[in-house]
């Protein structure tokens, strides 16, 4: 997680030592639902410190990959190691405790709690939730939760009920709860889907700033190619349960095969990529 890796769009990934051990490593993952092959031989290494984008059409198996990596789904075949240790068969709880956080395509907030309570609960979950008689919002957790929310720009809505937030704020709160657990790797499922176009870049910038600051390695599923071009170190292109292409965005996003077969009409090559 050297500073160079985070240097900026120009030198993204350039100084990453080729022989570094991957933080997350998947080999030969297979999982079919009936006849649908949601994972059909996934091999992927996520390197420490990188931002890896996953793109691909609906139903390609992107969420399935995150679900398998977080213990929510068990692959029928293949291995996943995190930090050198196999994690297949561990519960989501055990995997979270090892340092893999995730956010959800549909934000999973405690809808009847305030945003502040959501954040405080995540912080308490990390610190040890088993205290039955001291208030959740006692000073320590309250202040830590406010600090966390402020970093995500959510300070002003801290007292709102979580179900009263707009989609962008919900997505950010969802990710904030993952970050509260101080993961080394976060897997984000479509952090910008459903977010109004005008808000989108602002949200991603906030997000990337917080994640870079904390030195977290990130994998994110993304449909917006401008976001991918701007913030990803590498892009993995999912197609029918397989990885169809993998590489730096300027290469992948200009690959005619990828454009034709995978991105299709979803996007034209992003203006910023390729120079």
């Amino acid at each position: 997680m050297s500073a160079a890796v985070h240097g900026g769009p120009q030198d993204r990934g350039a100084n990453r030592p080729r022989q570094a051990t991957p933080l997350l490593s998947a080999r030969g993952l297979r999982l079919a639902f009936g006849g649908v092959k949601a994972a059909d031989g996934i091999d992927l290494d996520v390197m420490p410190g990188e931002f890896l984008a996953i793109i691909g059409p609906n139903g390609a198996g992107k969420t399935t990959f995150i679900n398998m990596s977080t213990g929510y789904l068990k692959p029928q075949d293949g291995t996943i190691t995190y930090d050198g240790q196999p994690i297949i068969g561990l519960s989501p709880r055990a995997i979270v405790r090892r340092g893999i956080g995730r956010s959800f395509q549909l934000p999973q907030l405690f809808t009847e709690h305030t945003v502040l309570e959501n954040a405080a609960l995540a912080i308490a979950a990390h610190a040890g939730i088993w205290s039955p008689f001291t208030p959740l919002l006692r000073r320590g957790y309250h202040d830590q939760a406010m600090a966390l929310l402020d970093r995500f720009g959510l300070g002003p809505v801290a007292q709102s009920r979580a179900d009263a937030l707009n989609e962008g704020a919900r997505k950010l709160a969802d990710i904030a709860m993952a970050v509260a657990l101080q993961p080394r790797l976060v897997l984000m499922d479509e952090p910008t889907s459903g977010v109004a176009a005008a808000e989108k870049m602002g949200i991603v910038e906030t997000l990337v700033r917080v994640l870079r600051d904390t030195g977290v390695t990130a994998v994110f599923v993304e449909h917006d190619m401008d976001v991918v071009a701007r913030f990803a170190d590498r892009v993995a292109v999912w197609s029918q349960g397989r990885i169809a292409a993998l590489g730096p965005p300027q290469q992948v996003l200009n690959d005619p095969a990828v454009l034709r077969d995978v991105i299709g009409i979803e996007a034209s090559p992003p203006s910023g990529a390729g120079h």
């Binding site: 709880r93 956080g101 907030l109 405080a120 308490a124 979950a125 205290s131």
Partner: protein, 325 residues
């Protein structure tokens, strides 16, 4: 938001002051009534005892779960008193013993039922309570079946009070325990574990992805609720001086759920409001219209669900808020 959702919603923060104030006023009112109408002391004591058991129902409601078998813990507390009183007549020992046994049973049953949710959770509790009911009914040699057991003479801190004094002692004990458990539940619901408990209702998966076992969170609440059921049961047995299997029958469990909804789940005061109203209506309606009183209770419940989903507690606080505004 459905009616039940509203009934189960956590109270807004602004309710805190009236809550403390109402608790003090309510306790004072109970003492006053017990003074002015001594024949109601018995009714109020039973109401407080049931209120403690209903507090346990409230905990589970916060997780969105309804137990239709919770009176089994009340029965365990009550039969503990009935069985042991001849050997250990000391009420101040029987009380924690009843709570402990109910808690142990709650742990054993809890380990099983916290794996289930919603209708399965409710019905499993019901089924297990009916097992206890049949045991109490069928093991005649031990329990005297449906005849029940008379509770033999009790001592309080070694003293055997006369009847009038004992009524006051039981009333006082129930009131003190009600306040104690009310405060405990209030603190618990605001704690990380209590807030996580409420999270089971809305986003259980998120708890797991925070590294927290939702089952363990629910189990703690379940054991706590069983202990409170046990405490309620010991108090009921010591007050009524007679225990029968009816205590564990499913209608008794239904009554606890009824009281929880009547009182409102928004505050730890709800169960006591509900239990007091329930017992008073029962006494007066039963006297006035004999067997039709269940119909009155049914009507009241219907009205609460339709027009005051926050229960009596919700009605009271919205009144106060309306006046304050």
């Amino acid at each position: 938001m459905s009616a039940t959702d509203r009934a189960l919603a956590a109270p807004p923060r602004t309710m805190r002051l009236p809550e403390a104030l109402l608790a003090v006023l309510g306790a004072a009112a109970l003492v006053l009534v017990a003074f002015l109408a001594p024949w109601l002391k018995f009714v109020l004591t039973v109401a407080l005892a049931k209120g403690i058991a209903v507090l346990g129902i409230l905990l589970l409601l916060r997780a969105g779960q309804v137990s239709f078998g919770h009176s089994m813990f009340l029965a365990v507390g009550a039969y503990t008193v009935a069985f042991l009183a001849p050997a250990v007549p000391e009420a101040l020992l029987l009380l924690p013993l009843g709570a402990l046994l109910a808690g142990i049973l709650g742990l054993v049953i809890g380990l099983f039922v916290v794996r289930y949710r919603d209708i399965f959770f409710g019905m499993l509790n019901l089924a297990l309570s009916m097992v206890l009911y049949s045991l109490l009914e069928k093991l005649y040699a031990l329990t005297k079946g449906t005849d029940g057991i008379r509770v033999s003479g009790l001592t309080f801190a070694g003293i055997t009070p006369d009847r009038e004094t004992q009524e006051w002692v039981m009333f006082g004990l129930a009131l003190v325990l009600a306040i104690g458990f009310g405060l405990l539940v209030r603190a618990y619901l605001a704690s990380p574990m209590g807030r996580a408990l409420a999270g089971i209702k809305t986003r259980e998966t998120r708890l797991e992805f925070m590294g927290v076992s939702a089952r363990r969170v629910l189990l703690f609440a379940y054991v706590m609720s069983a202990v409170m059921g046990g405490v309620g049961g010991t108090l009921v047995a010591m007050t009524t001086r007679h225990v029968t299997p009816q205590l564990a029958y499913w209608t008794s469990s239904g009554e606890l759920v009824f009281i929880a909804i009547l009182g409102g789940a928004g505050s730890a005061l709800g169960p006591f409001l509900g239990a007091t109203a329930f017992e008073l209506v029962r006494v007066y309606a039963a006297a006035a219209v004999a067997d039709a009183w269940q119909m009155i209770l049914g009507g009241v419940l219907l009205a609460v669900i339709l027009f005051a989903p926050g229960g009596l507690w919700g009605m009271l606080t919205s009144r106060l808020k309306g006046r304050g505004a």
